[in-house]
Symmetry: C2
Subunit: 252 residues, 2 copies
DNA sequence: CACACTTAGTGTATATTGTACACAATTTTA
DNA sequence: TAAAATTGTGTACAATATACACTAAGTGTG
C-alpha cells in the first residue's frame, strides 16, 4: 500500500447551486465568502467534505451550515477537477443542484459566509474559483430537466396561478410559450389541483390558484413521463393603444 | 492554511464504463484485476488520478494503459464517494462512459490488468468495489441518452444494416420495436447514407448497407434534436410452420 | 358610477406525428 | 425447383401539436 501514498494528498469539496424563482426571475443563491481564498468574493455555498462523510451528506450539511437551509433535496450534477482550480492544493469539487421556493426559507448566513443572497441568474458576476462554470453546468441541467418533466413546481409557492407557472417555464427555457397551448398541456396532465380560490389584491381579474399534486407526479414519473414544450411562434402583439375608448368595431 | 491539512488526505480515481455491441448483445469492457485490492476479481478499468492531471485526461490515460484503447471519447457520468468504498482509505471515483465499435479496437491488457474482456451487460457478475453500482448508473445513462438522440451508431461497424441498428436499439432499451415504424423514423431523419451495397454470405435475401452521416448528425444536434422510440405492442407472431409447401390461399 | 385598464380564461380547425398491421421480393440451400 | 430465411415496403387511423382572438372579471379614476 505504500506505493499509493502519493495519491492520498488531495481533498474534495461540494458546491451547491440552489435555484429559486422570484419576481418573475430565476435566481441562484450565492454567498459572500468570509475566508480565504477569494475572501470577499461571491461564490457558491460549498466546503470541504469531512473524511468520514458521504458526498450527499456533505452537500446537505454544507448548505445548512452556510445558509441555514434544511431538508433541501440535492441532486449531484457534475464533478470539476481541473488541476489548478484551487490555490491550496489539489481539490476536486462535486456540484449539486436543487430547486426551492424562496419564500419558504429564511437565509441565516453563518460566520464563515458573511452573507447569503439571491442573485438573478442572468446577471451573475465573476465568481470565486470555477464557480461560473459550475453554475453554467447546473443551469444547463435545469433546462434539460424542465424539458423532460414538469419540474419547477419546486420553485413556486404552494399556491400559484397558471400564468406564474408559465412565466417560470419561460424564464428557464428563455423562450415564449403560447398561453392556451401551455394551459391545455398542463391541465391535461392532471397534475394540478384547482383550489377554487382566486388571487387577491391585484388590479385586474384575479386568477385561479392551483396546487401541485405530488402523488399524481410520482405516478407519472413511474409511467415514464415525457414532456415537451415548444416555443410559441406567435408574433409580438402590436403596441397597446393609449387609454381611449374603443368602439366594438375596432376590436375585429 | 494549516487548518485545512486534515482534508488533504484523500485520493481519487476514475473508472471507465465502455460499452460495445457484438453478436446482438450489449457488452461492457471489464478487466481481471492483477493487484490488490480485489486481486483476481473483475472490475471496471480504472485507476488513481495523478496529482497533476485533469480528470478527463486521467480517464483517457487509464483506459489506454489498462486496455490499449486510444482516442476514445469519454463522457463524465457520476461521482461515487461512499466513505468505505475503498479499503485503502478515502477514495472517491469519477465514472466515465463511452460507446465504441468492438471490432475496431484490439485489446492489449497491461501487466496491471491481467486480462481485459468484453462481458454481456446482462450477465455481469459481482464486481470489485462498488463497480456494479457504477455500471448500473452508466447503463441508465445510456438508456436515457438513446431515447433523446440517435446515439448508437458509435457502437456499430461503419457499414451496417437497418436490422442491425434496430437490434442494437432493442438491446439497449430492452424492448421490441416495430420494423416498419423504426425504419420510417430513422430514414426520415436523413441520418443514414445508403451505400448501395448489400450484405454478402448470408443465407437469405441480403440487406442493404448503410453508413452514418456524421455531418447531418451534428446539424440535428444543433437544431435541438428530439428523438423518441416507443415500444411495439405487437403480439408475438405465432410459431413458424414446419418446412412444407403452402398454397397461396393459406397466406391470407 | 361608467368606462378604461389590465390580466384571466377559453375552443376550434388544421397539420404533424405516431401507431398498428401483412405480404411480396430476394437470396441461399437441399 | 421448392422451401427457408430474412428484407423491404404502404396505408388507414388515432393522438398530439399548433396557430390563433375574443370575452370575462376584476380594479382604479375622473
Amino acid at each position: 500500500m505504500n506505493e499509493f501514498n502519493e495519491y492520498f494528498k488531495s481533498a474534495f469539496t461540494v458546491d451547491n447551486v440552489i435555484f429559486g424563482f422570484d419576481e418573475g426571475d430565476l435566481k441562484v443563491l450565492l454567498i459572500k465568502r468570509g475566508e480565504e481564498p477569494y475572501h470577499g468574493k461571491w461564490g457558491l455555498p460549498g466546503y470541504f467534505v469531512y473524511p468520514n462523510e458521504d458526498l450527499d451528506t456533505a452537500a446537505k450539511r454544507v448548505l445548512e451550515q452556510l445558509t441555514g437551509l434544511r431538508n433541501v433535496f440535492l441532486e449531484q450534477v457534475k464533478t470539476f477537477g481541473t488541476v489548478n482550480r484551487h490555490p491550496f492544493g489539489r481539490v476536486i469539487t462535486v456540484a449539486y443542484f436543487s430547486l426551492i421556493k424562496i419564500s419558504h426559507y429564511t437565509l441565516q448566513p453563518s460566520s464563515i459566509a458573511r452573507k447569503a443572497k439571491w442573485h438573478s441568474v442572468a446577471e451573475v458576476e465573476d465568481l470565486a474559483f470555477d464557480h461560473n462554470d459550475i453554475l453554467n453546468a447546473c443551469f444547463n441541467r435545469l433546462k434539460w430537466l424542465v424539458r423532460s418533466r414538469p419540474v419547477g413546481f419546486e420553485l413556486l409557492p404552494p399556491k400559484f396561478t397558471l400564468t406564474e407557472l408559465q412565466h417560470l417555464y419561460e424564464a428557464i427555457l428563455e423562450t415564449k410559450l403560447d398561453k392556451r397551448n401551455f394551459r391545455k398541456k398542463i391541465l391535461t396532465m392532471d397534475l394540478l389541483v384547482d383550489l377554487e380560490e382566486t388571487q387577491e389584491g391585484v388590479a385586474h381579474r384575479p386568477a385561479r390558484l392551483y396546487q401541485f399534486d405530488r402523488n399524481r407526479y410520482e405516478q407519472l414519473l413511474a409511467e415514464g413521463l415525457s414532456f415537451e414544450l415548444k416555443e410559441s411562434k406567435r408574433k409580438e402583439p402590436a403596441e397597446r393603444k393609449p387609454r381611449t375608448k374603443r368602439t366594438p368595431q375596432e376590436m375585429a
